[in-house]
């Protein structure tokens, strides 16, 4: 028996646990409805790229994105946490499969399918609502999705993964994850205020490393209506901040993998 079959076994088991009928269907319904209801086609824009950015950004706003974050946090914290708590992971370790593949199968189900659903419905919705914008500015749409996905979605998923592995319990990690998300949305607008008050771009640049969407927002929406000292990054800087954001996310997941392989204590 090769590695593929046990991997698929674990993956299908995780899928069955994470998306019991009708959880997937309920989330699909709300994602689809939210995409069409919250898409703001009259979004403020200086040019076509800014219009595409603003349009996609409206879909990554509070109600719709919060549902998505809750889904992935539930899957990562509750799914993996209950497996650790009930000893299911111990059974999975008896499979002829390296530990990292077991975690990959779990994460693929928890994050991969949720992402596929969320992004698939969003892209489909945008094609129906504004096909010209999406086709003309596909790179802007891609970058906007990538920036929003990096932080807070994947960043929080990584933190919650570490917390779940450390605590070996999902409930508390899930609560912490939701609290962190809310804290993130509250703290986020502080960076421009601090920059404005101090007259320094440092707060903006530091926050842009954690949340690359800030750099993207400054790049696309500009700073024309703000005082001249505020920060307007170039496109290469935006890519740099996006890369830095993904490096942090990758570091969190690598720590999670290392912990799962060597320090789980099972």
């Amino acid at each position: 028996m090769g590695k593929g079959r046990p991997f698929l076994e674990i993956f299908t088991c995780a899928l069955k646990e994470d998306y019991r009928f009708p959880i997937l269907e309920i989330f699909a319904f709300f994602f689809a409805l939210g995409t069409f209801v919250f898409a703001d086609l009259g979004a403020y824009a200086q040019n076509g790229e800014a219009l595409a950015y603003s349009l996609v950004r409206t879909l990554w706003g509070f109600p719709l994105f919060f549902i998505f974050v809750v889904l992935i946090l539930k899957n990562v914290a509750y799914g993996l946490g209950s497996d650790l708590d009930k000893g299911v992971i111990q059974t999975l370790f008896s499979y002829p499969l390296k530990r990292r593949y077991i975690l990959t199968a779990k994460l693929l189900s928890a994050l991969g399918i949720a992402l596929l659903l969320f992004l698939g419905i969003q892209i489909f919705g945008l094609f129906l609502l504004a096909p010209d914008v999406i086709l003309t500015y596909s790179s802007t749409v891609f970058l906007t999705c990538a920036a929003h996905l990096c932080s807070p979605a994947l960043l929080l998923a990584g933190l919650v993964l570490l917390l779940t592995l450390r605590l070996k319990r999902g409930g508390f990690a899930l609560i912490i994850g939701v609290v962190l998300y809310l804290a993130f949305t509250i703290i986020s607008p502080w960076a421009p205020s601090i920059a404005y008050a101090t007259g320094s771009d440092l707060a903006l640049k530091i926050w842009a490393v954690i949340d690359p969407n800030l750099a993207l927002q400054r790049y696309y929406l500009g700073t024309i209506w703000f005082p001249s000292e505020t920060w307007a990054p170039s496109f290469s800087e935006v890519l740099l901040y996006l890369g830095a954001g993904y490096l942090i996310v990758a570091a969190l997941f690598i720590i999670g993998y290392v912990y799962f392989e060597r320090r789980l204590g099972i």
């Binding site: 998306y19 409805l33 200086q46 219009l51 024309i224």
Partner: protein
């Protein structure tokens, strides 16, 4: 069995997306009503009645009714040029940048070009009642002479100009990325009541696309889900029979 489950769950997801589209089209039908707004326009002045960014294949229908003859201008400027205008205004009036939004850019640029002497006004000091420069700009901005001068300088931005009339209707579908401004001018020497109604043609087209997509998705979802629903029902029935026996 796993293939049936996979296809079945995919089908139920597609079905739910289709149902969400149906619900959205019902919601958008309920909110489709476009209320008209009625307001007076002072003698020899003009007003902006609608503005916004329009991409290709997006548009609106405008209906105007007034108590006396008015002119309606549909003006469109490329987003690049609009951006240049904003930059020029921000440079000319840096202290005023926070006062106006996008809709005021066009009248402000007309004022700037017609009266270049009104340069870089200072912010009004609320304790100094003699500081009248900002109110001056705002007063002049809506003067029909400023509009005429602006249109003479930028004839290329006029997409449609109505004849002098009391009842007008016009449909506009953009062929380019434009910042559109609709202005109603009152050339008479007395105040005119103007009622304007804007119907978003883009929303109608969008709703049509959503309905077509829902009509496709729902049958596909049902077709994929039925075998899974039947097989899971049969399996549950078999299990129940085994348990009872």
């Amino acid at each position: 069995m796993r293939w049936i489950t996979l296809l079945g769950r995919t089908g139920t997801v597609i079905l739910m997306v289709g149902l969400a589209l149906v619900l959205f089209s019902l919601i958008s039908s309920a909110t489709e009503y476009t209320p008209g707004f009625r307001e007076p326009i002072s003698p020899e002045e003009y007003q902006i009645v609608h503005s916004g960014v329009y991409t290709p294949q997006t548009g609106f229908q405008i209906s105007v009714e007034s108590t006396d003859n008015v002119h309606v201008y549909l003006l469109g400027v490329s987003l690049l040029e609009f951006d240049n205008w904003k930059t020029r205004l921000a440079e000319a009036y840096p202290d005023l940048a926070w006062i106006w939004g996008d809709p005021l850019v066009m009248p402000m640029i007309f004022v700037r070009e017609a009266y270049p002497d009104l340069d870089a006004p200072q912010m009004p000091d609320i304790t100094d009642l003699d500081d009248r420069q900002i109110p001056d700009i705002m007063d002049i901005m809506w003067n029909i002479a400023v509009l005429d001068k602006g249109l003479q300088t930028h004839p290329e931005i006029i997409l449609w100009e109505s004849p002098s009339s009391t009842t007008l209707s016009h449909e506009f579908i953009s062929t380019d990325e434009l910042y559109i401004t609709v202005m109603v001018a009152n050339p008479s020497s007395h105040t005119v009541q103007v009622e304007t109604k804007i119907t978003d043609l883009t929303a109608l087209a969008r709703k049509q696309r959503v309905i077509v997509a829902a009509r496709l998705l729902i049958p596909i979802g049902v077709a994929l889900a039925i075998p899974w629903l039947i097989s899971s029902k049969v399996r549950k029935g078999t299990l129940r029979q085994r348990n009872s026996s």
